[in-house]
């Protein structure tokens, strides 16, 4: 299978490891990407927060490029990008005039229907049994809180791939790595992503609630599928501790890193060492789990 790839801006910077781990993992699973050539920012949050026409045009430029480069579908690993892309597609398809207006701005016409997938859909498409089959490590001592954040499954009427309130697709994927998942309350609560810089105080509070609930329900690691979530939940833990001195560090991994671990890669290969909160999946654990499996 071959997909068009829209990395999104964060993947080139603060979420480098998401990009790295995603590429490594899918390569191992026998899938490859073609990065959309000369892609540009989808405009996420700031554009649609302030100018709807700009927002649609910025997002749709990438869809247009994909179409012109002969792609049928695109993977957008960042939840915010994914959301912007499908919402813009929805606007164009459902509201009169938007399509023409956007085509004018891009001086080109939309001819095909390009399907945009998020990273969960990607793994479901690849087949979670594929992960299980290629498993090198048994992550059975991990109790994972799967965090979808707000934009991955919403709005359900448009995303159409999982339940908006009680989603389960990420759990299915994580369980294919041999790790356990927990049921918790903050799966789809927002971490305040958009305000990461301008209102860090809000982000710190919201992210802390999310981490606390995961811990309270017995999780020892969290899986995310969005660079913005990761920034808030990982990087902001220092600020969290400043504001809430009792805060204990809690590791937050990208879903792709978790899968990478299961496929036998190490922290360095997956970029886990780039996180703020250390996560050492010690080789002892590896041995333990294998021993457990044998015994």
């Amino acid at each position: 299978m071959n997909y068009g790839y829209f990395p999104g801006c964060s993947q080139t910077g603060s979420a480098k490891e998401y990009d790295i781990s995603l590429r490594r993992v899918i390569d191992k699973l026998g899938v490859s990407f073609d990065e959309i050539e000369d892609w540009s920012c989808c405009g996420a949050t700031s554009a649609h927060a302030t100018n709807h026409k700009l927002s649609t045009a910025l997002a749709m430029r990438n869809i247009m490029l994909a179409e012109q480069q002969g792609m049928e579908s695109i993977i957008a690993p960042c939840a915010a990008c994914y959301n912007r892309l499908i919402m813009s597609q929805f606007e164009i398809a459902n509201h009169s005039g938007v399509k023409q207006e956007t085509e004018k701005l891009l001086s080109s016409k939309f001819l095909k229907d390009i399907k945009v997938f998020n990273v969960l859909e990607l793994f479901l498409k690849i087949g979670i049994n594929k992960i299980a089959e290629n498993r090198k490590r048994e992550l059975s001592d991990l109790k994972v809180a799967c965090y979808y954040g707000c934009l991955l499954v919403r709005p359900a009427a448009i995303t159409k791939f999982d339940d908006a309130e009680q989603p389960t697709s990420m759990e299915k994927i994580v369980e294919s790595t041999g790790a356990h998942t927990i049921d918790w309350n903050y799966k789809v609560e927002c971490c305040g992503a958009a305000h990461s810089i301008a209102r860090r105080d809000i982000v710190v509070d919201l992210s802390k609630n999310i981490i606390d609930d995961a811990r309270a329900h017995g999780a020892n690691v969290m899986a995310v599928a969005c660079p913005m979530c990761h920034t808030n939940l990982d990087m902001r833990q220092r600020a969290m501790r400043r504001k809430y001195p009792g805060h204990e560090e809690f590791p937050v991994l990208y879903l792709t890193e978790l899968i990478g671990l299961a496929l036998g890669m190490n922290e360095r290969e997956l970029g886990i060492d780039l996180h703020y909160i250390d996560f050492k999946y010690a080789d002892s654990a590896l041995e333990n789990s294998i021993a457990n499996k044998m015994g």
């Binding site: 339940d163 908006a164 309130e165 009680q166 309350n185 609930d213 309270a216």
Partner: protein
Amino acid sequence: MTVRVLPGSVKIFSGVEYSTDYKYMCSDPGQNLIKEAIHKYRLDAIVVGSCSPHMHERTFRNAAVSAGINPFMVEIANLREHCSWVHDDIESSTHKAIELVRMAIEKVKRDKPLTKINVPVTKRVLVIGGGIAGIQAALDVANAGYEVVLVEKEPSIGGHMSQLSETFPTLDCSQCILTPRMVEVHQHPKIKLLSYSEVVKVEGFIGNFKVTIKKKARHINEDLCSGCGLCITKCPIKKKAYNSFEEDLAFRSAIYIPFPQAIPNIPVIDETVCTYYKTGKCGMCVKVCDRQAIDFDQKDTMLVADIGAIIVATGFKLYSIDKKSADSKYKGYGEYGYGKYRDVIDGLQFERIASASGPTSGEIKRPSDGKEPKKIAFIQCVGSRDDSKGISYCSKICCMYTAKQAMLYKHKVHDGEAYIFYMDIRAGGKMYEEFVRRAIEEDDVKYIRGRVSRIYEKNGKYIVKGEDTIAGMPVEIEADMIVLATAMIPQDNAADLARTIGVPYDKYGFYNESHPKLKPVESTTAGIFLAGACQSPKDIPESVAMASAAACKTIILLSSDTLEREPVVAKVNEDLCAGCFYCKKVCPFGAVEVKDVKDINGIVYKEVAYINQGVCQGCGTCTATCLSKSIELAGFNNEEIFAEIAAL
């Protein structure tokens, strides 16, 4: 308009034998004038230029009849409401009056004598559904001296009311007022109760229905069983099936009577859990029953009944917040956990918990750990008034039952706190608003205006995230138990049943009344009436009022031996009919049937439409639809209307 000139003007139209004018044509002297003219000039049709036919058509038709001509050979030109009263200009209105009379003349020339249709009436009423509405209707009809067949799909009658604890607005015990009624049904010589039965087919038409009823196998011989209940106590299968009467808050045995006051008080064996049906062993019930009433081989049986009128009283169902299948028109509440929290219950479950005969003997305990909830939250309009979940209407009764339940809670848990999240309080009814105020003022129930966004569990408590939209403040309550006032929706099979018996239903599945104001208990199908919550959400007083009204309407129908109907019905010309059956598709009343046409050898060579004159209501939709123009509506056939057009 100058009336004076009319007689002379219309006299010249062909076919007019005599014309005259009179000031009060509908008065006795006026009518006599008509009768005399009929005799004197041997008239065979008359046109009256007068007021609206809706006013005096009947008067003039009767006059015609007494003078010996067919009542349908009378046409009325509406010269008052449609001409003299609405036009000032004398010349043009006089001209119009002449034309109106001419149109009527042209029509009457083509009118055919018609006779009223007489259909016999079977003096037996079918009541479908044995809730309070069905019970009330059955008793009223039976007390008027007519036979009633009451069909109830469950093993016992009683419906939802039998599950309620106490009822608003008086807080009297539901069972106490219902049980005597149920017993009365059972003992009434005119009522035949068919419990655990369903209507599977309805044929025929008003006064003459033929109804097929399936009596499901209870595996108990009803004639032998005394209802002693020994079999139930001895049945070893005790916890394999949820007790649906207790809203799944308790278990029941494989052989069971739904609840102690059940009517009839005869058990049913649940084949899906009984050991005998699984392994062929056990038979404990057989051993203990000294009346040999257990009959494992009993089969479903079909009964056919001749029925004159039908009352549908199949009630409602409570919406559940569970996740629904993708094709369902409803959606569940993921934000409230799709029903995964055990202490988040619905209204009927609370009724059972508050009921003295319920699983907790009336003590307020929460299902998860049996502890008494000290803080309870009620959430109104769950499902209702929610376009996104598929139910746009207001369920009408939940404001009231929520107030009632909060009160009952406060009466039983004195140190408890009760919060109600509401959007509006709809308490229109006698003593209803007073009842709600009592909950607030005397029982200190806290009403918070705002829809709850989310419920989740945290350390054994349920966090209710709300907003007080009046104060403009966010609200978070840590409750021990939550009661959802979920919507009243139609029964699961409401649409199927509607199609079986031939009543129309709305987009939700509630049955349609014939006119929302003036014919609220009639369905649009003649001879079929509606009662209770199958028509729309209703409380008990309304259900009962509607049931009595429906009963009264059937009694009116049954009080005569034959039914006379206006002969304005459609008829098919079988030679022309192409058998396309478009007419069958459009007929709103299902009056069109398929008829085989046979040649002399008795071999069917074509199918044609046949219109059942008892069912046809004379709307004429079929006539306009028929491409081969094979259908005519008596009294309004094409020839008559063309003549009117031609007379313009």
